[in-house]
Amino acid sequence: MKGKGEGGKARGEEGFPLVKLVDVHKVYKLGEVEVHALRGVNLEVERGEFVAIVGPSGSGKSTLLNMIGAMDRPTKGQVFIEGQDITKMSDKERAKLRLEKIGFVFQQYHLIPWLPAIKSVEIPLMIAGVPPKERRKRAEALLHEVGLGDRMWHKPSELSGGEQQRVAIARALANEPEILLADEPTGNLDTKTGAEIVKLIRRLNEEKGVTCIIVTHDLEVAAAARRVLYLRDGRIVRGQPLAAKVGKEKALRPEEEGEGA
């Protein structure tokens, strides 16, 4: 792997944050117009953290999540996962990283419409080459865990929004990822169902130690996170553990832009 030499495992996994972004820029070209989605983001996320990224629409939240999730490459800057620079990886290596280390949850659920829940959950296991019996067992266990033990053979069209999002979460967890990336996971759900989904994600974070990064514009949702990053115009303007919000500890001094590094 390309990232190995300079910042890879040779220097030991423990010494590195799970996620580290260094001066990440992203510029989209829409015809003649250049859109600066990210303008130098620095960020570190430790193993086991629950981070919410909030900000107005167009602030670059989803772009940031795509950078962390190895879905997109920055125009400038570096993204490290477990100390490895994933911007230097090949597409194939990045696919492998997504498969093994990252689970995605989307606002639109993004389930494959013609597959029943159980098969949707099995797909990442299929890609990973897990044998049929084992993956069926694992998918069943995951669906039980998200509370869909009795809806396993339903297709997305036969499931409610909340149920679909649970399937998506089960799918994201199939290969036991290090990081769960959720892009507006409650955006299409009513408040009650949304709250349940957030509770589920939080439970996964606390019980399983899955590092969660949620993009949301809903402060209620952000309130579940231990740390909240505010993104505006492609920059992190403020980051704070949300102790104040949950009312347990006094708010820490907000991290200023660029301090994350």
């Binding site: 795509n66 999730g69 879905m71 997109d72 597409d91 194939k92 696919a95 492998k96 997504r98 498969l99 093994e100 990252i102 689970g103 995605f104 989307f106 993004h110 389930l111 494959i112 013609w114 597959l115 098969k119 797909i123 990442p124 299929m126 890609i127 990973a128 080459g129 049929p132 799918r171 994201a172 290969n175």
Partner: protein, 497 residues
């Protein structure tokens, strides 16, 4: 991803879009069916023609013919040539024998004679040896070569006479019947030059006995249409055509037809003709004197002449050598016009034509399959367009471009496998139906050389060929959309509406 899982997912999606998949597969089935049926028909004709060539068209046979009809050939062939070939080419020639061609009218009743019928004079025994499958009696027995009165009738001429003489459709009734033949010998135009006579045709009537009627062959050997021939022995047929001796006795055997320049026609007997010929004088020479001169010239080598020499090679591999040696021989004896015809060369030419014909059919079949594959291309392109978001999902959860390519490609290949397999079966069925109903069972006339009947034949080779071509074609046309699918950027694909 394991291949089994790739196929499982492909199958799941195909089941989801049943109608589209079914229609695409139906397209492949029809294309492959067309190709399989076309190939089986072409194979059938190929085999029938090859069989016909092997049975009737003995490729070990070489003919030598002169030019012109018997007796008036510019390039004469002699029995001494037959002897020469027999002796000097014994190393490569199994047998050789002469033949003679002519035409006669056959008497139907006291006043009516048929138009000209082809007559062949040749050894029955040797004919049977060289063409054992051709010289097969429908009824009766092939006579021996010493039977001067016996003749064998080809199927068509026998049927023709059966209809006229016996009002029946059964040519076998001719067997053991007596026939009156009228052998016509036109005198050369020089014999009547300078007179009011336009032409004189001598004719002799001979009585023959039909010993056998041959089975229908559909074969025409170097201009010799077996089915339309009356076949006698070489010696007998030559006797029929022997011009009469210029004596009272000689002319007593014949009659004549005189056509005057005025257009009048007279039928006279031999004695009357002789009297007339003695009475007409041109430049102090009677027509009779002219006839005597012509007769003497003609008779100088008449007993030695043949119209055709049949040469039968020891082995088919010697044919080219014999051909060459015969050409050299006739060139050295000043008869380069002699035509040496190897049936093997005919066979080759026919096979060549057949090859082109088959290639064309194969091209048609392949086009049918490509059209079907375009259906696959269309379906897969639509699939990819509709499933862009799925491509994004698959990539987001860790699928590589290769996996996405495999997922889509395998669907095309699965359709190809199912369609090709069913298509081959359908083609097999179609070939069977064509054979059973005789829909395409017909007669192929090959440049009037010979005719065959054929029906489609299905072989494992055709099945494998059709299946493979179709599968490769669908795989190629299915690959392109699958490749486009694999190239989608995951972020773009997920945002796709």
């Amino acid at each position: 991803m394991r291949i089994a899982d790739v196929l499982r997912l492909a199958k799941d999606h195909m089941v989801t879009s049943k109608l589209r998949t079914a229609l695409t597969i139906l397209g492949i089935i029809m294309g492959v069916m067309a190709m399989t049926a076309i190939l089986s028909v072409s194979e059938g004709f190929g085999i029938a023609i090859r069989e016909a060539m092997e049975t009737y068209f003995n490729v070990r046979v070489i003919f030598v013919t002169g030019i012109g009809t018997f007796g008036t050939q510019e390039c004469k062939l002699y029995l001494t040539d037959v002897e020469y070939i027999r002796v000097h080419m014994a190393d490569v020639v199994n047998d050789t024998f002469p033949g003679v061609f002519g035409a006669v009218r056959v008497q139907v009743n006291s006043t009516y004679w048929t138009n000209y019928q082809l007559v062949m004079g040749s050894s029955h025994e040797k004919g049977q040896k060289v063409w054992p499958t051709l010289y097969v009696p429908l009824k009766g027995k092939i006579p021996s070569d010493v039977d001067k009165k016996g003749v064998v009738l080809g199927y068509k001429v026998a049927l023709f006479l059966a209809r006229l003489k016996f009002k029946t459709e059964d040519p076998a009734v001719l067997v053991d019947k007596t026939l009156r033949l009228r052998v016509e010998m036109p005198l050369p135009s020089t014999a009547v030059e300078g007179t009011d006579i336009a032409s004189v045709t001598l004719y002799r009537e001979v009585t023959v006995m039909v010993r056998a009627v041959l089975k229908e062959t559909g074969v025409n050997l170097a201009g010799f249409d077996v089915d339309s021939s009356i076949i006698g022995t070489f010696e007998a047929v030559k006797e029929w055509f022997r011009p009469p001796e210029p004596t009272n006795e000689g002319f007593a055997q014949i009659s004549a037809r005189i056509e005057w320049r005025s257009g009048e026609v007279d039928e006279v007997d031999g004695a009357e003709l002789k009297t007339l010929m003695e009475a007409i004088t041109v430049d102090d020479e009677t027509l009779w004197d002219r006839y005597v001169d012509w007769y003497n010239t003609r008779m100088a080598d008449y007993d030695e002449l043949a119209s055709i020499i049949v040469v039968y090679a020891k082995d088919v591999d010697y044919v080219e050598e014999i051909e060459k040696r015969l050409k050299d021989y006739f060139e050295h004896t000043g008869r380069e016009q002699a035509k040496v015809i190897a049936l093997k060369a005919y066979a080759r030419a026919i096979e060549g034509v057949l090859g082109i014909f088959r290639s064309l059919l194969i091209v048609l079949g392949v086009i049918a399959v490509i059209v079907a594959s375009l259906g696959v291309f269309n379906t897969m392109t639509t699939n990819v367009r509709e499933r862009v978001k799925e491509i994004g999902i698959m990539k987001a959860i860790g699928a590589t471009s290769g996996t996405v390519l495999k997922l889509f490609w395998s669907e095309a290949i699965l359709m190809g496998i199912i369609g090709s397999f069913l298509g081959v079966l359908a083609g097999w069925g179609a070939a069977w139906v064509i054979a059973a109903t005789g829909l395409l069972k017909g007669i192929v006339a090959f440049g009037a050389v010979f005719t065959v009947t054929a029906e489609p034949i299905m072989t494992l080779e055709i099945a494998i060929w059709s299946f493979t071509v179709s599968l490769i074609s669908t795989a190629i046309f299915g690959y392109l959309p699958a490749r486009w699918a694999s190239k989608y950027d995951p972020v773009v694909a997920l945002r796709y509406e």
